[in-house]
C-alpha cells in the first residue's frame, strides 16, 4: 500500500469516527440541545468529511457533503432556525452521507441517485428557501491560490535562481513592476524581500527602491506607504504569472505591472538615497541574503522584525508617523487574548480520540501479544501441575512463588484482553438510524433509549453483535410495539419506547432489548407452535416456556411476512448466531406492558468455557453453551431403534445417543452406555442429542487454538486447546457431531492410526 492509499484508509477510518460524532451530536440536537457548540460540531464533522473527500477526488461524496455543510453553515450563523423539521432532515442527511461514504469506500453500491438528490433538494430548500441550488464551488476564486506556471522540484524547497534563465534566455521583453506595500502587509508576515525572491525566480530582475513615495496612481493610499519598489523583470512571461507572485498581498499593496520597453532599462535614481540596484545574475541568492540577515535561525529568533529583506531599508511599520498603532495588522481583533479557551477540555478532542491520551496500535500486534500471553498462561499451568506432581509441599517456597506467578499471569491476561476490549458504542451508534428507518417503514413512532454504551467487550465480539441486535430491534419495533392508534387506545403514549442496554454480569456481557409494546400473545404463540407441530397439543408449558417457543426453528408469528422482520430471518436465526458466539438468549414478557430480550455473551472469543470429558483415553472439550444437561444413562431409559442405533429418554423425548469415542474412531467397540456419562447437547439449529463419554472431568476455561493454522479443518472438531499437562485436547464441534456424524457412525471411513 503506498502512502496515498494509506492516507485514504486513514480517511475512511476517520469518516467512521466523524459519522459517530455526527450521529451523537444530531441526537443532542434532537433532544433540544441546539446550542452553537453542538451545531458547530456537526458542521465540523461534515466539513472534515468533505475536505478529505475532496483530497481523494470522491466527487459524489463531496457534492453531497457540500450541500449538507452549506445548511450547517446557515444554522451556525443563525440565519436559519434549527427546528424539528430541520433536525429530522439533518438526521436523514447523515444517513445518506454515511451511504455515500460506504459507496466511496467500495463497500456498497453507489447511493441511489433519487434518494440522494431528494435529500439534496430538501437541504437546499432549508438553506435557500427554494432558490436555485448553487453549484458546488470547487474552483479557486479570484482570491484563491492559483498554480504557478512553472514546475517546482518537490525535493528541493528552494530551487536555485539559475533556472528561469534557461526558460527564456533570449527574451528581451519583460515587465516593470511598481510595488508599494501597505503597512498591513507586514502584519501578516508577508515580506517584500520574499516577493522579490519570487520575482527573481521568474527571470533576471533589477530592483530599485524609492522611499520618497511618489504616487503615480490615483488609487494609492499614501498613509500606509513608505517605500515603492520598482522591479524590472526580464522574462518572456505572461502578466498573469507576475501577478500571481503578489497573490497573497494584492489587497495589502499597490501594484502596477507594465510591459518593459524591450531590454532592462536603467532605473531612476533617487535624490536622497542611491538606488539599491541588484544585478540580476546566477550569483544572486536573495534567500541566502535573507537567511543571513535573519541570523540563520528564524524559528528561534526572538526579535519580531529580525527577518528583514536585505537589499533595501526595512519598511517597518514602527517609524511610520501616519500609522495609528504599532501593530496595525491585528487591529480589528487584536484585543482577544486568544489562548484562553472558554470550553472545558472534556469536549476537546472528541473527533480526534475518545480518551485524552491514546495511541493507535496495529491490531496484529495486539493479537500477537494475546497469543503469547495465552501461551504464558498454559505454560504457567503446566509448571504448576509439574510442581504438584513432584510432591513439593504446598507451603514450600517454590509452591508459594508459583501461586504468586499464577496471580500475576492472570492479571497480565486480563490486562491484555482489556487492550482489545472496545466499548459497544460503535455498534449502538448505528442503531438510531435503523430505528428511524424501520419506524418509518411500519409507520410507528419510536423513541430509542440506549444505556451502557461504554460497556467494553472484546473487539471480535463487538463486531459480531451488530447483526443480532439489528434483528432484535427490528423485531421489537415490528412485532413488539403497537401502532400509534393502538397505543393511544390502550392508554399509552403514541410514541413507543425501545431500550437498548449493555452491562457486565458475572464475566459476560449482557445486552438487553426491551420495548413497552403489547408483550407476547401467549395463546397465539402456543397455537402456532401446536399448528406447526413444534410442540405436542397437550403439552403443559409454563409462560416462560411459551415465550421461548419463538426461538424454535420454523416459528414466525407474523401472519404476513413483513418487509422488516420477515426476509426469512426469524428469532431462531438470531438465537443461532448468538450461540455461535458462545452466547445465550432469553425473553421475558408481560402482556400489555412489553417484552425484554436478554442475550449474554462471553467477553472474548479467544477463550471458551468448556466441559472437560474423557473418551477412550482421550481428553475432549465440549463447549459449555451447547450443553443442556448431563446424566448417567439408566438401563430403562435406553432403547435401540431397529436394534442398532441407541436412543435415550430425556424429558419425555427420545434423543439419539452418540458414542463419541467410536464415532471419532478412538475405539472399535461401543462402550456400555450405563457405564458412561450422557451429555445432552443442543445444536445451533435447536436439535438435541446425547453424547456418550466415559467420564466428566470438570469445567474449565480454555484458550482456543485453531487447527487450520498448521493443518486443516477436521470434521467434528471445532478447534484445539492446550491442557494444563501440556497436551493438546480437541474441542468438539457439537453441531457436526449431532447432525452429520451420527449418520455415518456405523461405517467410519478412516480408522485411527494404531
Amino acid at each position: 500500500m503506498d502512502a496515498f492509499e494509506a492516507i485514504k484508509a486513514t480517511f475512511f477510518q476517520e469518516c467512521d469516527e466523524l459519522l459517530a460524532e455526527l450521529e451523537s451530536k444530531l441526537m443532542l440536537l434532537e433532544q433540544g440541545q441546539t446550542d452553537l457548540e453542538t451545531i458547530n460540531a456537526v458542521f465540523r464533522a461534515v466539513h472534515s468529511v468533505k475536505g478529505g473527500a475532496g483530497a481523494f477526488g470522491l466527487e459524489a461524496l463531496v457534492r453531497f457533503a457540500h450541500v449538507f455543510e452549506t445548511l450547517m453553515d446557515e444554522l451556525r450563523a443563525g440565519r436559519k432556525p434549527c427546528d424539528t423539521v430541520t433536525i429530522k432532515t439533518l438526521l436523514r442527511a447523515s444517513d445518506v452521507l454515511a451511504d455515500h461514504i460506504q459507496a466511496a469506500q467500495g463497500l456498497a453500491p453507489p447511493v441511489d441517485e433519487e434518494r440522494s438528490a431528494g435529500l439534496v433538494h430538501e437541504l437546499e430548500l432549508l438553506t435557500h428557501g427554494g432558490e436555485a441550488p448553487p453549484v458546488v464551488e470547487e474552483d479557486e476564486d479570484d482570491f484563491g491560490f492559483v498554480p504557478m506556471a512553472f514546475d517546482v522540484p518537490l525535493d528541493e524547497p528552494l530551487p536555485s535562481l539559475g533556472e528561469p534563465e534557461a526558460v527564456a534566455p533570449e527574451a528581451q521583453t519583460g515587465w516593470r513592476i511598481l510595488f508599494k506595500p501597505h503597512g498591513r502587509m507586514y502584519g501578516s508576515a508577508n515580506e517584500a524581500g520574499l516577493l522579490l525572491r519570487e520575482l527573481g525566480r521568474l527571470g533576471p530582475i533589477t530592483v530599485s527602491v524609492d522611499d520618497s513615495a511618489l504616487p503615480t496612481l490615483d488609487v494609492l493610499v499614501a498613509e500606509d506607504g513608505y517605500l515603492t519598489w520598482t522591479i524590472d523583470l526580464t522574462a518572456a512571461i505572461e502578466e498573469k504569472v507576475v501577478r500571481e507572485v503578489f497573490d497573497f498581498v494584492e489587497a495589502d499593496c499597490d501594484l502596477t505591472i507594465s510591459p518593459l520597453g524591450g531590454g532592462a532599462e536603467p532605473v531612476l535614481a533617487f535624490e536622497d538615497e542611491p538606488p539599491a540596484v541588484l544585478p540580476a545574475s546566477d550569483e544572486l541568492d536573495i534567500a541566502a541574503l535573507l537567511a543571513k540577515a535573519a541570523g540563520g535561525a528564524p524559528a528561534a529568533e526572538p526579535a519580531p522584525v529580525a527577518v528583514a529583506p536585505a537589499p533595501a531599508p526595512e519598511p517597518e511599520p514602527e517609524p511610520a508617523p501616519a500609522a495609528p498603532a504599532p501593530a496595525p495588522a491585528p487591529a480589528p481583533v487584536a484585543a482577544a487574548p486568544a489562548p484562553v479557551a472558554p470550553i472545558p477540555p472534556a469536549q476537546v478532542a472528541a473527533p480526534v480520540a475518545p480518551a485524552p491520551v491514546t495511541i493507535r496500535v496495529d491490531l496484529d500486534r495486539v493479537d500477537r501479544l494475546i497469543n503469547v500471553v495465552g501461551e504464558l498462561v498454559i505454560q504457567q499451568a503446566m509448571l504448576s501441575q509439574r510442581v504438584l506432581e513432584s510432591g513439593l509441599a504446598r507451603s514450600s517456597g517454590i509452591a508459594l512463588g508459583l501461586e504468586d506467578l499464577e496471580l500475576l499471569t492472570r492479571e497480565i491476561q486480563d490486562s491484555v484482553m482489556a487492550i482489545r476490549a472496545q466499548p459497544v458504542k460503535s455498534v449502538f451508534q448505528r442503531m438510531p438510524r435503523l430505528v428511524r428507518e424501520v419506524a418509518d417503514m411500519v409507520s410507528k413512532q419510536v423513541r430509542l433509549v440506549t444505556a451502557g454504551e461504554d460497556t467494553e467487550v472484546d473487539k471480535t465480539v463487538v463486531e459480531r453483535l451488530a447483526e443480532p441486535i439489528t434483528h432484535m430491534l427490528r423485531n421489537a419495533i415490528d412485532h413488539g410495539l403497537e401502532t400509534p392508534d393502538e397505543r393511544v387506545a390502550a392508554g399509552k403514549t403514541a410514541e413507543g419506547t425501545v431500550r437498548l442496554a449493555a452491562l457486565h454480569r458475572s464475566g459476560r456481557i449482557v445486552i438487553e432489548i426491551s420495548d413497552d409494546g403489547r408483550g407476547i400473545n401467549r395463546e397465539r404463540v402456543k397455537k402456532i407452535a401446536i399448528d406447526k407441530g413444534l410442540v405436542a397439543p397437550d403439552a403443559a408449558l409454563t409462560d416462560e416456556q411459551i415465550d421461548n417457543l419463538i426461538f424454535l426453528p420454523g416459528f414466525s408469528t407474523a401472519a404476513v411476512v413483513s418487509d422488516i422482520s420477515g426476509r426469512g430471518v426469524g428469532m431462531d436465526v438470531v438465537k443461532r448466531s448468538i450461540q455461535a458466539l458462545g452466547g445465550r438468549i432469553s425473553i421475558s414478557s408481560v402482556p400489555g406492558k412489553g417484552s425484554t430480550f436478554t442475550l449474554s455473551l462471553p467477553l472474548t472469543l479467544a477463550v471458551l468455557d468448556g466441559m472437560v470429558v474423557s473418551a477412550a483415553d482421550q481428553i475432549l472439550i465440549a463447549p459449555l453453551p451447547a450443553i443442556v444437561e448431563s446424566l448417567t444413562p439408566q438401563e430403562g431409559d435406553l432403547h435401540y431403534v431397529g436394534g442398532v442405533d441407541p436412543v435415550i429418554r430425556f424429558r419425555d423425548r427420545f434423543l439419539p445417543l452418540i458414542d463419541v469415542a467410536m464415532t471419532m474412531g478412538f475405539r472399535d467397540t461401543p462402550v456400555v452406555p450405563s457405564e458412561g456419562v450422557a451429555v445432552v447437547v443442543e445444536t445451533e439449529g435447536g436439535q438435541q442429542a446425547a453424547l456418550l463419554f466415559d467420564a466428566i472431568q470438570g469445567q474449565r476455561q480454555v484458550v482456543i487454538k485453531s487447527l487450520e493454522t498448521n493443518y486443516q479443518q477436521v470434521e467434528g472438531i471445532a478447534a484445539a486447546t492446550i491442557l494444563g499437562d501440556g497436551r493438546v485436547a480437541l474441542i468438539l464441534d457439537v453441531d457436526v457431531l449431532v447432525t452429520d456424524m451420527r449418520r455415518r457412525s456405523s461405517r467410519p471411513d478412516f480408522k485411527l492410526a494404531s
Partner: protein, 121 residues
C-alpha cells in the same frame, strides 16, 4: 538547515496529507490538532512556517492566528490558512487576523509546497 512547518488540523487525514507532501519536499513537519494545541506546540517547538485549518474544535484557525500574532516571537512567522471555503469574506477575515496566505482544499501537493516555499524566509 531543514525548515520546520507546523501543521494544525483536526482531521487526521489532512494532517497525514500535509505530512506526506511536506516531508517529500524536505521539510520537517510538526503537528497540532486544534488552535490551542497549535499555540502550545508553536510556543514549545517553534516553526518556520505554519499551516492551519480554519474549522477546528476548541479554538479555530482565526483564534490561532490572532494568538500567534499576539506573541512577539511569532509576529513575523508566515502562516498559511488551509480551507475549503473559498469565499472572499473568509479570506478577508483570515488576512485581518494576520494570515500570510491561503491554500484552498483540496490542495495539490505541488501547490502546497510552492505556497510554503513562497512565504518561507
Amino acid at each position: 538547515m531543514k525548515k520546520t512547518v507546523l501543521t494544525i488540523d483536526d482531521s487526521r487525514t489532512m494532517r497525514d496529507m500535509l505530512l506526506m507532501a511536506l516531508e517529500d519536499a524536505g521539510y520537517t513537519v510538526i503537528q497540532a490538532v486544534d488552535g490551542i494545541d497549535g499555540l502550545e506546540t508553536l510556543a514549545a517547538q517553534g516553526a518556520d512556517v505554519v499551516i492551519t485549518d480554519i474549522n477546528m474544535p476548541r479554538m479555530d484557525g482565526f483564534g490561532f492566528i490572532e494568538g500567534m500574532r499576539a506573541d512577539p516571537n511569532h509576529r513575523t512567522t508566515p502562516c498559511l490558512v488551509l480551507t475549503t471555503e473559498s469565499d472572499a469574506e473568509k479570506k478577508a477575515r483570515a488576512r485581518a487576523a494576520g494570515a500570510t496566505g491561503w491554500i484552498v482544499k483540496p490542495f495539490d501537493p505541488v501547490k502546497l509546497v510552492d505556497a510554503v516555499r513562497r512565504v518561507a524566509a
